[in-house]
Amino acid sequence: MVEVKNLTKLFGDNLVLDDISLDVKVGENAVVFGRSGTGKSVLLKCIVKLLIPEAGEIIVDGKNVYKIKEKELNELRKSIGFLFQGSALYDSMSVRENLEFPLIRNKKSMSPEEREERVIKALKDVSLEDAIDKMPDELSGGMKKRIGLARTIISEPKLILYDEPTTGLDPITVKEISSLIKELQKDLNVTSIIVTHDLLCAQIISDRAVVLKDGKIIYDGGLDYLTKSDDVFLKDFFTNENIYANNRSINGK
């Protein structure tokens, strides 16, 4: 579904992605880990051509996103959902208008009744039916994230890119959102690339884990191995062992 080939992205002199390659199959949930600033979000933005890399190519659903024309790219984008880190809700529109926005423009044959039905279903999926007429500034951070997710899934995309879908949410909501992502994969065979730091979320949804470090992929495989790895970086990232050791040394115990 998504083929990333030798992707290199620079910001000024800063090499963010260094010749990375990745192949995500149809119906697969690939979770991308890495420290802040390692280019995880940049990778997602390159996939939808929000950013243009210095080298490499990306093929989504058989189409090279950097070579196709604008019209074709827009057709492709209609089949892709993107959940932004900060939700990116349109703050001049109500929740209903936010959710209707992609439907009105991309599914013109849909009747207002069908649209309303779709909006209510998406809100039910994220347990926020009551927020339908609220404005984004009346919502908490967690609620915004869930509405953002509802807007992402409302067009029933084939590929969804999640940029930290559960950051800032309580553990119960994390489980709910993660289960929803898993259900989408199971019921609709949706392919997902999920950037996260949340191990609980990853444990629920991941088929495959990819770890980025200094712009390179240093691990690509199952999640189980990561938590048992002897590698210092992976150990630091995925287990609490070193945190406890640090605490002990700080407390002098």
């Binding site: 933005k45 939808v48 929000l50 827009n74 057709e75 984008r77 209609k78 892709i80 993107f82 932004f84 880190q85 900060g86 990116a88 809700l89 349109y90 703050d91 001049s92 926005f101 992609p102 423009r105 991309n106 067009s155």
Partner: protein, 265 residues
């Protein structure tokens, strides 16, 4: 001058010039994109209508006060001089010609720039830094057409209407000043006003507000749409939009006045 200070000044000057030319070329391409996109569907009529209402309502109170005061002050200032030359009967013509040809269009455009250009700059830049514009693009909606074209069109449409309104109020303001000092009757005043105004006075004045409207919308949108650096960028976009739009309005006015004089006289 010491060589180090000279070097520093040269660096500042060259940075300033680079930024200036980058802005000029950026704004030119941005404006060209507008003319390319404006004729392509979807036309987002509802959005244009919403902006027209919003911009009109936002600017109405301040232009009402300004319009009235322009006419009043202009008549009050000119009256003693006109009396000295025994030309007080020309006061209505002087007020109406000054307002319709120059003061009305330019002052309305400057006020409109201060109120609207900064608003558009702030709104779009905050959408940019919170990734709302990216979200629109990813959902296969052309954000330029939806956000920029609609706002520029609304500005082009609303500014001539506001200018007509300001002209009317300024003429009324002028009457009040003349009535209080000279006791001139309204019918006499209004007859003198209409007698002095010609087609060649009204049309160029209104026509240039179409260009001023475009400048206000385009500069505000350009600054907001290309904002960077988070919340700092939002503030910068908002203030620099007003400065740039005001400057461009005055420069364009200078050129247009010269053109009008050449064409109509």
């Amino acid at each position: 001058m010491e060589p180090e200070i000279e070097k520093k000044n040269t660096a500042v000057l060259s940075k300033g010039l680079t930024e200036f030319f980058a802005t000029v070329s950026g704004l030119t391409f941005f404006s060209l994109s507008f003319f390319k996109e404006v004729f392509l569907p979807p036309y987002e009529i509802a959005e244009i209508k919403k902006h027209i209402e919003d911009l009109g309502i936002k600017t109405l109170p301040i232009v009402t006060v300004t319009g009235f005061i322009i006419g009043l002050v202009l008549a009050m200032q000119s009256e003693p001089v006109m009396v000295r030359f025994g030309a007080e009967s020309f006061l209505p013509s002087m007020v109406s010609l000054s307002v319709v040809r120059e003061l009305g269009p330019v002052l309305t455009a400057l006020i409109f720039a201060g109120r609207v250009s900064s608003g558009i700059g702030a709104e779009l830049s905050s959408m940019r830094v919170t990734e709302q514009i990216d979200a629109m693009e990813v959902s296969a909606v052309n954000p330029f057409r939806y956000l920029v074209v609609t706002r520029i069109l609304a500005c082009i449409f609303i500014l001539p209407i506001l200018t007509l309104y300001v002209n009317f109020l300024a003429i009324i303001g002028g009457f009040i000043a003349i009535y209080l000092s000279q006791g001139m009757h309204f019918k006499l005043y209004i007859t003198a006003v209409f007698k002095s105004l010609e087609f060649a006075d009204v049309i160029p004045g209104l026509a240039k507000t179409l260009i001023f409207g475009f400048i206000v919308g385009a500069v505000g949108s350009y600054k907001g749409y290309n904002a960077t650096n988070g919340t700092v960028g939002v503030g910068r976009a908002s203030t620099s939009a007003v400065v740039m739009a005001s400057l461009l309005i005055l420069l364009t006015d200078m050129v247009l006045v010269r053109l009008t004089v050449m064409l109509w006289s």
